[in-house]
Symmetry: C2
Subunit: 506 residues, 2 copies
């Protein structure tokens, strides 16, 4: 069955993983570089994925009592400076607004005019500006908890950018909460991280490891940063979401105080947590193959594309009517509590239109030709299988089983990614083996980066630094599921009681 084919994406992952990533984004029509340094244009197919991410996360957040709001894009420099560690962390990548109009200059060209008395920073994150509001909203324990989220664009001036993974402007959500007690705030930070893990695994089909960041990797100003880490196909880690327990650091700098039940004034305990358009980069690199991206049905902008094969020899009207009827029947079906989303590609461009949809990662392709009509069948290709593994299925059976098929695809995509992650996660106890594992061999592609290594770490920042300097490998997280285990630090051999996850990362 089916002919041989050449991979649609060149170079392949094996040939040049970074270049493959760029090409696959182009071929799937997700996004493109803009003419503005480091900024991307998210095209409709890519933006639909983001809309689905927003919809699902909004439901998950709201079910825990979180409400959406919106805060200013601009942060006065003096606000940023209030939290020393925070401003230190972001100073090197801030877009700064210094003027509020344009005027004709000497050569009659336009130049910035109307200098601001205080420069404004474009938010790289909003702890300081939201903290200002919290300090006004919160007076008494009765006002707590405050559970807020915003969907917004943020700017971090990156020198080396990559679409979805690292861009100067990106879209994200940032949750900010304030609580009466330390325990409640810590619980909230963990609750939101668990939501991210559930979302990544059940919707994006991306298996993740979750845990706590080491001090050197935490968010500037946080007490603890919790994170989920995914493994890309080049075996590098991608930080896919973070949730911060901020202690009273930002409450102190923003003066968020409340009167307790005992009529004592205290500082509130705050958290913040976010995921961004980076998740789309994670989707591409976790599931994509040499024919394009592969979208898990639960996050795909459309589930099925119908491809009527219009040839001169056959009755175009008849085939369109068969196609439209099939679309109608499929749209009556539910998948994951929502109607099945069907696209119809009517273009009269021959066989290449199937490939366009393979590249775009749609879960199911249904070809409809004369023979299919005659036999009351459809010719179905699944994106989680090879492009030529198509098979003829009875039309009514296909309609009846659509939701089940989509579930199968969702599960098979997750299983594949999960197997890959498990196969490439190993425990190493010996320093030389550790170094060997993360050193590219001559015969290997330089883009393949080992995997996740569970090794003992004594907890010292010096060991972390040495490993980073020697191998460009960092501690991705101290896993939650850590068990007490005696061992020796992979770097300095000092005693250690737990393993951490080491990996190269994006």
């Amino acid at each position: 069955m089916g002919k041989k084919y050449k991979p649609a994406i060149s170079p392949t992952r094996e040939e040049d993983y970074s270049k493959w990533y760029q090409e696959v984004i182009k071929a799937s029509d997700l996004a493109e570089h803009s003419s503005v340094r480091g900024c991307m244009v998210i095209k409709p197919w890519g933006y639909s994925i983001w809309e689905n991410i927003m919809d699902i996360l909004n439901k998950m957040f709201k079910s825990t009592g979180v409400k959406n709001a919106y805060f200013p894009l601009f942060i006065p420099l003096s606000f940023m400076e209030k939290e020393a560690e925070h401003v230190e962390g972001f100073a090197k990548e801030c877009a700064v607004v210094t003027h509020h109009k344009l005027e004709k200059g000497k050569n009659n060209n336009l130049v910035p005019a109307g200098p601001l008395t205080e420069p404004l920073i474009i938010r790289p994150t909003s702890e300081t500006i939201i903290g200002e509001s919290f300090s006004k909203w919160i007076k008494s324990y009765r006002d707590l908890p405050v559970l807020i989220n915003q969907w917004a664009n943020v700017v971090r001036w990156e020198m080396r950018t990559r679409i979805f993974l690292r861009t100067s402007e990106f879209l994200w959500q940032e949750g900010h909460t304030a609580h009466e007690t330390k325990e409640e705030a810590k619980e909230r930070a963990r609750m939101m991280l668990d939501i991210y893990k559930k979302f990544a695994e059940e919707y994006l089909a991306i298996p993740v490891s979750s845990g706590v960041k080491s001090i050197s990797e935490k968010f500037p100003g946080a007490v603890d940063t919790l994170c989920i880490e995914a493994m890309m196909q080049d075996k590098k880690a991608l930080q896919a979401g973070t949730s911060h327990f901020l202690g009273q650091n930002f409450a102190k700098s923003s003066n968020i105080r409340f009167t307790t039940k005992k009529e004592v004034e205290e500082l509130a305990w705050t958290t913040s947590w976010g995921v961004s358009t980076r998740l789309i980069g994670g989707l591409i690199m976790t599931h994509g193959d040499d024919n394009g991206i592969i979208l898990p049905p639960k996050i795909a902008p459309a589930h099925v594309v119908l491809l009527p094969i219009i040839r001169k020899s056959i009755d175009a009207e008849k085939i369109m009517s068969y196609t439209n009827k099939l679309a109608g029947k499929l749209r009556e079906k539910l998948y994951n509590n929502n109607p099945v989303i069907v696209e119809i590609d009517k273009r009269d461009i021959g066989g290449t239109k199937g490939w366009d949809w393979i590249k775009k990662g749609i879960p199911l392709r249904v070809e409809i030709g004369q023979r299919d009509m005659d036999q009351n069948s459809v010719f179905v290709g699944r994106r989680d299988m090879l492009p030529n593994e198509k098979k003829s299925v009875n039309r009514d059976e296909f309609i009846a089983k659509i939701s089940q098929i989509l579930d199968e695809i969702q599960n098979s995509i997750f299983s594949k990614a999960n197997d890959f992650k498990n196969e490439n996660t190993i425990s190493i106890n010996k320093t030389n083996m550790f170094y060997d594992f993360f050193t590219p061999k001559n015969h290997e592609k330089p883009e393949i980066h080992g995997g996740f290594v569970l090794s003992h770490w004594c907890g010292s920042e010096n060991c972390e630094k040495k490993i980073k300097k020697d191998l460009s490998v960092t501690i991705r997280c101290i896993p939650f599921e850590n068990k007490y285990e005696k061992g020796n630090c992979i770097c300095c051999n000092a005693e250690s009681t737990q393993r951490v996850i080491f990996a190269k990362s994006y």
Copy 2:
């Protein structure tokens, strides 16, 4: 029935309309000024309204083939300069990014560093940056039409700001389309304006006049600007949405060219159209009264609030159980194809909690006390009626009729606004009457501004300018429904064939 009451908002509309507007926003908890000059914080109750606006408009847009995408926040200065009229129109209110990091200055304080070689403008609107993408996407007539929308924040540096009406940063949607022919582009501009009109009237319950802007009032760079204009309760006009036919102006400056069916290269024809968070200001000023805002049910974040009256004398558990059961029954009901949204206010703060919800504009308040439980009834207040016009209704009847009651409220809110608009729209033929109409009398409040006046206009910009200078009155639009009618210009007495709408405006 009911006691006398003092209006919840002070000052009242009559006493001081501008101040009333500020107070009503505060009392309804919609939004607040931020510490950043001219920027607002949209609080959860206000943001929920914006979420509903987004949801409904997204469905309306998508049903016409429009797809959402996202383009950069930053526009290089050179892009803005490509369309002369356009940059001229926005130069005086541009936030300009000139640096990309912060460094320690002389006094050890942080100062902007890393100067950019080309300043970046924060988008005041995105024709030029989206035009750049369109020029890449469009090669042939087969690529047309391109129908794109984005939901985004934009910045226009306003010197005098007012929450929702005029802020330096605001949220909006901006649609951008490109077409093969002039006719198709003009049709699209009109189609989107008609959607805005339908949305304003059927969802926001705001009656609007629609038409074309005069040349001096059109969007910088447009050929024609179509608009909807609403009448606020101080009888000033609020421009509530615009749709621009851009001709080939932006296609020329952004180089959007395509090959026609006849293999000739031509410039595309483009449109753009937008509505913003200003609509929330329109909602407040169209419907609000001296007790707070009034939300039409189709746009309200919640439809009904249940107010269990918890007193020591009665069984709190029993009343909560009655309340929860009622909430469950109401949530099973549909209003406008979606489940009825029910809030429960359990706070034990006595009678004032009803007033909190009046101020917030929720369509229905349902008080539940001992007597109501005994009689299987509920005590219902409608926000379109006076606060003390509450009545006892049989519980089951209330549940059965909930959707009908909400419809009645939606309609009564619209009718009231429509009557007000009609009563305050008059035709004037004599210049002295026109001047008299728009000149505040000693005995009148200065905030009441006449209304909409249909008068003849010869079409000259001079007459427009004179009226604006003398009376601060502008031409709001040349109405679509204009009939040919002979008359004389209200300003210069020259011959005219049509009436236009004059008004003071926000």
